[in-house]
């Protein structure tokens, strides 16, 4: 087995995320690729972000000036309120103006599905009766040639690179993930390159013994990095809980540009990598976020002779 794809987070971002790229980030509450996103911020890239709910990961990238365009459907701090950097960018152009291409959850996810399927668009029953299509002429409608029903056509999105975080992967990028997976698979399949960070790097035999759990096969993966706690402050099902205190603190401590910069200096620029970030979080915090074990029963795929 070659290990050409296995590298540091810094190298993976340097080699596979380029200025001007459109990037997709996977996850929803669970498995946001925060460690990869923080490295993108440290390398000061200038990007289009494609994500239905970028929540505070997107907010941090916007506040750091890494995003010139956002393709999205919801951006807030879940169950808390506003994402302050996003609001500053849209309302006041601070730290810079961002272009918005705004849809709804079903439309963004349908556009990625079309990209993942290699078709130019996907018909859907969405966006009717809403003001969004008026702002985005690329959304078209048609009457179904079979039933006459009114359909909304969602044009395919094919991001340049997908950043995803999973529970375990082998050195080739064959990736196992579980829990709430959201759009990770469609986003990875729609993208030209995939960068995977994982809680654990495992032997390929572990993957082979449970292939139904493989979300993304390694052949489409460009780089694999080992970043334990790489989804913090979001959760990694079975590994750690969502850090609710962090989300509350982020709400309180990023209300002005100055405060945001202080926060970013401490938690993003102030650490070299995820390892330093994790030691900064401290053992007490880490222990508090670990769930009790609640194992599923193993399945038996059988050995055939």
């Amino acid at each position: 087995m070659s290990h050409e794809k296995f590298m540091s987070t810094r190298e993976a971002v340097k080699r596979f995320v380029h200025d001007g790229d459109s990037i997709f980030v996977g996850g929803f509450g669970n498995l946001y690729p925060f460690s990869l996103a923080h490295e993108v911020i440290r390398q000061k890239k200038n990007l289009t972000l494609v994500k239905h709910s970028p929540e505070i990961l997107g907010d941090q990238m916007i506040g750091s000036g890494c995003i010139r365009k956002l393709v999205f459907s919801w951006l807030g701090n879940p169950s808390i309120g506003s994402a302050h950097a996003f609001r500053r960018a849209v309302e006041h152009g601070v730290p810079k103006r961002i272009e918005l291409e705004e849809y709804t959850h079903a439309s963004v996810t349908g556009m990625l599905k079309a990209g993942a399927m290699g078709i130019p668009f996907l018909p859907a029953k969405t966006l009717f009766g809403s003001d969004y299509p008026g702002h985005h002429p690329q959304i078209k409608f048609m009457d179904c040639p079979y039933t006459g029903e009114r359909l909304c056509l969602l044009p395919a999105i094919t991001p340049d690179v997908a950043l995803i975080h999973v529970q375990r992967a082998d050195a080739e990028g064959n990736s196992h993930a579980w829990g709430i997976l959201s759009d990770i698979k469609d986003g990875a399949f729609a993208s030209k390159r995939v960068v995977v960070s994982a809680e654990e790097i495992v032997d390929t035999e572990v993957i082979r013994r449970d292939p139904n759990r493989t979300l993304v096969p390694g052949f489409m993966v460009a780089a694999v990095v080992h970043d334990p706690w790489g989804a913090h402050p979001s959760s990694a099902q079975g590994f750690y809980d969502r850090d609710n205190e962090y989300y509350l603190e982020y709400d309180r401590e990023t209300r002005s540009r100055k405060d945001f910069e202080k926060f970013a200096d401490e938690w993003i620029y102030g650490v070299e990598n995820r390892k330093e970030y994790v030691s900064k979080l401290g053992r007490k915090k880490l222990e508090a976020l670990k769930p009790k074990s609640y194992k599923s029963r193993p399945v038996d795929y059988g050995w055939y002779s």
Binding site: T104, K113, K125, D131, D183
Partner: protein, 271 residues
């Protein structure tokens, strides 16, 4: 299987002491029926759904936007993608499947929505205050609200009641209610039934044949006058308007002691 959950609908003494938010959760729970498939939102809708399951709808099936179906969360969920929803559930669909094969495919009976602005036809704005290109206040956006409003059999709107929110004209139509009249929906291609009720901090409002909102009941410490005062148009009032039946003591106890013991979504009454 042994039925473990009590079905104590309308049983128990009415509570004397309850908060407006507790009233809202109880009023919303009453709108849910047993065996319905409910698309749940975080916050008060989660509590309304959990309460309905404990109170009168033990076989109600929850569907979360993150794709978790039939979750039995060990603690309150803080986000749609909360790992507490991804453990102990019946199925987890991915995001596309959840919208395409649940919402679009017609499997959802009831949805919950909230908004920053609402008009008399139940059209909602959760996108922007001011002009879209010159936002005065930029809000988080639709999320799944637009397609929930468009596709589910009926939906409930839960929100605070004041003149800033209940407005004559919304600044942006994120999610459709009855547009400008009940029969407008079909013409626009919308298949779902539209808004069924609005549960506000002041009362319960419903929609007449023309698709316009009217006041059906006002909560304790509210009144017809207070609701109308806090509504930005000349609100219709049902000839049968009455006080919203208060929660039972048991419902308040369930909310305070079991469903939200830390007071995350329901502030405790000030002592």
């Amino acid at each position: 299987m042994v039925q473990l959950m009590p079905t104590a609908r309308h049983r128990g003494r009415p509570a004397v002491d309850f908060t407006p938010e507790e009233m809202m959760v109880v009023a919303a729970a009453r709108e849910l029926r047993d065996r319905e498939r409910v698309f749940v939102g975080i916050g008060l809708p989660v509590l309304a759904t959990l309460l309905a399951q404990r109170d009168h709808a033990p076989s109600l099936l929850t569907i979360y936007e993150s794709g978790a179906i039939g979750s039995r969360p060990s603690r309150l969920a803080m986000t749609m993608g909360d790992p507490a929803l991804g453990s102990r559930c019946l199925a987890i669909l991915d995001f596309f499947e959840c919208f395409a094969t649940m919402v679009q495919r017609d499997f959802v009976d009831v949805g919950f929505l909230g908004a920053a602005q609402l008009d008399r036809y139940g059209n909602m704005n959760s996108t922007v205050i001011g002009d879209y290109l010159k936002a005065k206040v930029r809000l988080p956006g639709s999320g799944g609200a637009c397609e929930i409003a468009g596709n589910v059999k009926r939906f409930l709107i839960i929100m605070p009641h004041d003149r800033k929110r209940f407005v004559e004209k919304i600044d942006f139509r994120t999610s459709p209610g009855y547009l400008s009249g009940r029969d407008e929906r079909q013409r626009e291609g919308l298949r779902g039934g539209g808004p069924d009720a609005v549960i506000s901090t002041l009362g319960v409002l419903r929609f007449d044949e023309s698709g316009q909102m009217y006041l059906d009941s006002y909560h304790r410490n509210s009144s017809v006058g207070k609701v109308r005062e806090n509504t930005g148009w000349n609100l219709k009032v049902s000839p049968k308007v009455r006080e919203t039946p208060p929660p039972t003591e048991e419902q308040v106890r369930l909310l305070r002691e079991e469903l939200d013991p830390k007071g995350i979504f329901l502030r405790k009454p000030s002592a």
